[in-house]
């Protein structure tokens, strides 16, 4: 048994090394003093970080990304939460079908959605506006909200709400004072995930972006397609640090496991030990 354990350990840490390698490489390569991206970096300096403010297009794109992500995250939560409520709390004809319908954008390749949205929004005349980006991102973010809120609703005891109603609360009061606080972690996780998915998206934004409404990941993508100099390495490593900060905040507040729905799966095994 011991021999197998150590094989597993060595193998796993090698794989974790493989997973972290490109991220570590970006962080180190961004510190280069040379004119070209290389690894190991040639000399150490922060000159490429100081170069970023001279390229305002990256900051403009970061701003657009943040605005689009927050707006789509909020709207997706506002749309997905009532949908999840209807799908989990009520039994009606076509419920299963509708559940599948709301989750279906997740099965659809993002590029296909991008192509379809570009063609349709051009016809509707809203391409090259931030509105197009928000509309596109709603399609890929609402499913996550529906899934996460449904999961937390399904784990909630419906008799609690009934108890509130029996004790004389109005349906609205029972909802806002009992149900909503109980599903709040699911709603927060859904909102957080929707915002992250919107912020990270390239495949859809690439089709809908115009020079004035280019999100940061799209800006980086098109930049890398041309050339990869240390400037973009520095931008990428800032993005990694930003994500790391977000990961820490999420882990401390809701827990990453809940975000990915692995929490429940992990507990029975943990309990059996």
């Amino acid at each position: 048994m011991r021999g197998r354990l150590s094989f597993l350990g060595v193998w796993s840490w090698a794989v974790y090394g493989f997973v972290l390698a490109p991220i570590v490489v970006i962080l180190l390569a961004s510190l280069t003093a040379a004119e070209y991206t290389s690894f190991p970096p040639q000399g150490l300096s922060l000159r490429w970080y100081l170069e970023i403010p001279r390229h305002p297009e990256f900051l403009e794109s970061l701003w657009i990304s943040l605005v689009v992500a927050v707006v789509s995250g909020t709207l997706a939560t506002a749309l997905g939460t009532p949908a999840a409520l209807a799908l989990v709390r009520y039994r009606f004809r076509g419920r299963e079908l509708l559940n599948g319908f709301f989750l279906s954008p997740l099965m659809l390749p993002a590029v296909i959605l991008g192509v379809a949205l570009l063609q349709f929004y051009t016809r509707a005349g809203i391409t090259r506006t931030p509105l197009a980006l928000v509309c596109g991102h709603l399609v890929i973010t609402v499913p996550y909200v529906v899934r996460l809120v449904s999961a937390s609703l399904a784990g909630m005891d419906p008799s609690l709400e009934r108890a509130a109603l029996i004790l004389g609360a109005t349906p609205w009061k029972a909802f806002t004072r009992v149900t909503l606080p109980l599903v709040a972690p699911g709603v927060i996780a859904g909102a957080a995930f929707a915002t992250i998915v919107s912020f990270d998206d390239v495949s859809i934004a690439l089709f809908l972006a115009s020079p004035k409404t280019t999100t940061l990941p799209v800006r980086i993508f098109t930049y890398i397609e041309q050339t990869f100099d240390p400037l973009v390495t520095a931008v990428c490593s800032l993005l990694v640090l930003l994500t790391a900060a977000a990961v820490i905040v999420i882990e401390r507040s809701v827990g990453l496991g809940r975000l990915f729905g692995t929490e429940e799966a992990a507990t029975p095994a943990a309990r059996s030990r």
Partner: protein, 285 residues
Amino acid sequence: MSRPATPWLLLAVPLAVFGALFVLPLANMLLLSLQTFDRTTGATGGLTLNNYGKFLGDPFYLGILGRTLKLAALATCVTLVLGYPVAFHLHLSTGRRRAYLTLLVLAPLLISVVVRSFGWLVILGPNGLVNSTLRGAGVISEPLRLLYTESAIVLGLTHVFLSFMVLSIATALGRIDPAVVRAAQILGANPVQTFLRVILPLSLPGVAAGSLIVFTLSMSAFITPALLGGPRVKVMSYLAYQQTLLLSDWPYGSAIAFVLLALTAVSVLLYLRALERGRFRMVFR
């Protein structure tokens, strides 16, 4: 609380928004894929299957389709081989250690795919980690061309989708009743037998689900193949992007998108059928 109209009140707005933003664009794309490309007006004319005929009749395009399938299958196999032991290791760990390992598996999912694929550009590039090391060791004098190859794409896809495989297998391992494992040990099975005859078969639903996720994501992945393969090693998603955005041939781009969609759906169905008929079909019920 349960007046029959209530769920529809809750669903009205989300349904209307999804109908307008999701269903209409897809219907529009289907219509476009059946039209003819016209340089001045975009798409014109009556409905025709010419775009699909053009794709299916051309060995060049069929080659890209075959490559997409091959790279997705390879990425799935590599993630499975790399990921199974990691999932098992994660499953055996406990307490805080388990929490940290889970974080290590999950956190990369939150870092932008562009950034993660870019990391591989730096590693595999002409002045990258691999070429610098090999040149420093005197193995090579000229940098090897590692980027813009099929291997680079498989490597990148493996890296981006590995977490899904690990999570899926770890979940299945967590569902195995520990009493079954103990029963095997009490009945005299050695650790290898216990693993091969009990744990491995019972974890197959996780393997199947993970493979399915990684395969479909790899088939339709765009950023990783676009950055690590580029125009030199095209896959279906890149072809759809190129036709639509770079060449503005919307009808043909739409047809390619639908071919990719149909191909993914057919592979998933065939795979599920194979599982239902396979030797371990009872664990999938």
